[in-house]
């Protein structure tokens, strides 16, 4: 018998962890001499009360959906892919090469091509750590960390020495051609009378991210491969006994994970900056960890958590604009979410389990 009902595991524990994180964030805001309630109000006003605010929130959420899914697919195979950042960087390179060197007739074809390029580059960047973990036993966390730094060095080299247009000063590629411009929410939803999502970077990639959620759900819970990945994550020896190859599952799970992380760059590189820049990922690869932990590795949970973090990101930008609270507040909140939902999970879980068992005894 389970120690507690399923809803407690899925809803109650994340909620309590989130409240703990919010409580400590409020303390931090108090400690630096600001008013947490006023700060929250400013964040809600800036991120959710205007359509442009939503445009930014959903733009950030798109990134976090991809990286959150990436982390959660690997988590299902009990692999901690901390290399989403590097995979997304290389994914950006794939997007840039697709957009710069292929003459696309229309954006709809270009987004497909760029997605394939991003997924391919991201997956390849995850393949080496996956292979080393499966075949040589080197720990995937350490290798993916190292690969983040190597990816940053490669991107730096490529941008400075190869892709930078002649005479340009900043390390960035040339601007992508007009044909690959992705429709933004402003292009899609504004009417003659009212302009919606004015100037916001949210674009059609958001729907691609929603499709990715559906894809991951189908894959994990409706296919044999997904079952094998989850079985492997539950018990490696059990999976081995059932004829599931650990090498195959490790490599495939990491390839999917890397591809998803890489696809984040369709949103940032093609949808927003429209050229490859040095720091396009902006730590979104790491936020994927918090998003996956909060979303309990389920695509629907990841979607909700990604929107929450999108809100925090946009709200944090508003705070930095109007108050003296720097944007780094979001990093602190992110750290607290990872701490309480991930590392200190047992701190919340164990008392709750005891509570539920005690309640059950009383009822029996």
């Amino acid at each position: 018998m389970d120690k507690m009902p399923k809803w407690a595991d899925i809803v109650l524990i994340p909620l309590i962890s989130l409240l703990l994180a919010a409580f400590f964030s409020a303390l931090v805001i108090l400690a630096i001499g600001e008013n947490p309630i006023a700060a929250l109000k400013l964040m809600v006003d800036g991120a959710l009360m205007r359509s442009a605010g939503w445009g930014y929130t959903l733009y950030y959420a798109t990134n976090f959906i991809f990286t959150g899914l990436a982390v959660s697919v690997a988590f299902h195979a009990r692999l901690f892919n901390i290399g989403g950042e590097g995979q997304a960087m290389l994914g950006g390179l794939g997007v840039a090469l697709c957009c710069l060197y292929v003459p696309w007739p229309h954006w709809s074809l270009a987004i497909l091509g760029a997605s394939v390029g991003a997924a391919l580059f991201g997956a390849l960047w995850a393949l080496i750590p996956a292979y080393l973990q499966a075949k040589r036993g080197s720990h995937i966390v350490i290798t993916t960390i190292m690969f983040n730094f190597i990816a940053a060095a490669i991107l730096n080299y490529v941008l400075v020495e190869l892709l930078r247009p002649v005479g340009a000063m900043d390390p960035a590629s040339a601007k992508f051609p007009e044909a690959v411009h992705l429709p933004t929410f402003q292009d899609m939803f504004s009417t003659e009378g009212s302009k919606l999502f004015r100037g916001a970077p949210a674009n059609v990639t958001f729907f691609l991210a929603l499709l990715a959620c559906v894809f991951v759900w189908l894959l994990m819970w409706r296919t044999k491969l997904g079952y094998q990945i989850r079985a492997f994550g539950h018990s490696e020896s059990g999976a081995l006994y059932a004829g599931i190859s650990p090498v195959r599952i490790t490599v495939i799970a990491m390839l999917i994970s890397g591809a998803l992380a890489g696809m984040m760059s369709v949103n940032t590189t093609m949808g927003e900056s429209e050229r490859l820049i040095l720091n396009s990922t902006e730590g979104a690869g790491f936020i994927g960890i918090a998003v996956a932990l909060m979303g309990r590795n389920h695509p629907f949970g990841v979607l909700l958590a990604a929107i929450l973090f999108g809100f925090l990101y946009q709200g944090g930008a508003e705070l930095a604009l109007w108050t003296s609270i720097p944007r780094e507040l979001i990093v602190v909140i992110q750290a607290l979410v990872i701490l309480f939902t991930g590392a200190l999970d047992n701190m919340v879980r164990e008392p709750l389990e005891k509570l539920f068992i005690a309640m059950r005894r009383r009822n029996a």
Binding site: V28, I142, I145, Y157, E161, L293, A335, M347
Partner: protein, 336 residues
Amino acid sequence: MDFLTLLQVLDTSVRLATPLLLACLAGLYSERSGVVDIGLEGKMLAAAFFSAAVAFYSGNAWVGLLAGVGASVALAVIHGLASVTFRGNQLISGVAINFLAAGMTVLVAQSWFRQGGRTPPLEGDARFNPIELPFAIGPTDAAAADRPLSQLIAEAGPLQQFYSELISGHSSLVYLALLTVPFTWWLLFRTRFGLRLRAVGENPAAVDTAGVSVVWLRYAAVLICGVLCGVAGAYLSSALQAGFVKDMTAGRGFIALAALIFAKWRPVYALWACLLFGLFQALELRPDIIENVSGLKVQVQLLGALPYILTVVILAGFVGKAIPPKASAEPYIKER
């Protein structure tokens, strides 16, 4: 390349290797006890800020060092709570600590100093100043002779050059870090505490059966790790540089982790690994030297990535296999 240039590069290597060495030894204690720590970076960063901030207010670098160690130990306690007491995922805890430090330092720096996430520059006794060893040519000789120091050293004999340029003239923390290496070796391999610490990282159940507390040993290791990371951070902001800037650790915690794997979790090898990675960082600053010596144009990006590439190669076991302590990253659960 002449002898003096070589000495200068090695001198810079030692300076840059010191924070790596301290953080690497910090990780060594923790990981030898079975607690994986990828939060070295965050602990160093927190210590770098708080030591610089307190050194600025107090005007005393040692008081700053204490504050830095305090901040680092506070984060180490969080890591201990998560990974020992609540048997959580040590890797996730490390990630959280890194972000916590990255965010909090800027937040507090902005709130205290309002200079865009930095501390004001440190001067005089608020910094760890170079120590002039006896018989070495240093700034006082230069002042007495009223000539530039570089001129005096250039005129000296090779032995004196070696002594004055490379051995003398570092801050006290550099010598402290170097002394920590033999001390760590002695503590881990020649004392009862060290034997137990290593045993708890290999087979905690056996240590528990012998009646020694696994929890206490792991906490001790995590706390030592916190202290050493604190010294590393203080060195960064108040000896290597004069003040804190946002994200000033710049991946050093991860290079230290790489050095730890490169050294296969052994203290003396850790020294060599950190000096090697320090040399890479020194050459990254002076790419012209490699070009003059080898005639090849070496990409600075390659030099920067070299520690990480080497670590992956070592981890993959292509050149000598690196095998971590057996119980690393595994929480110990009593009475299963």
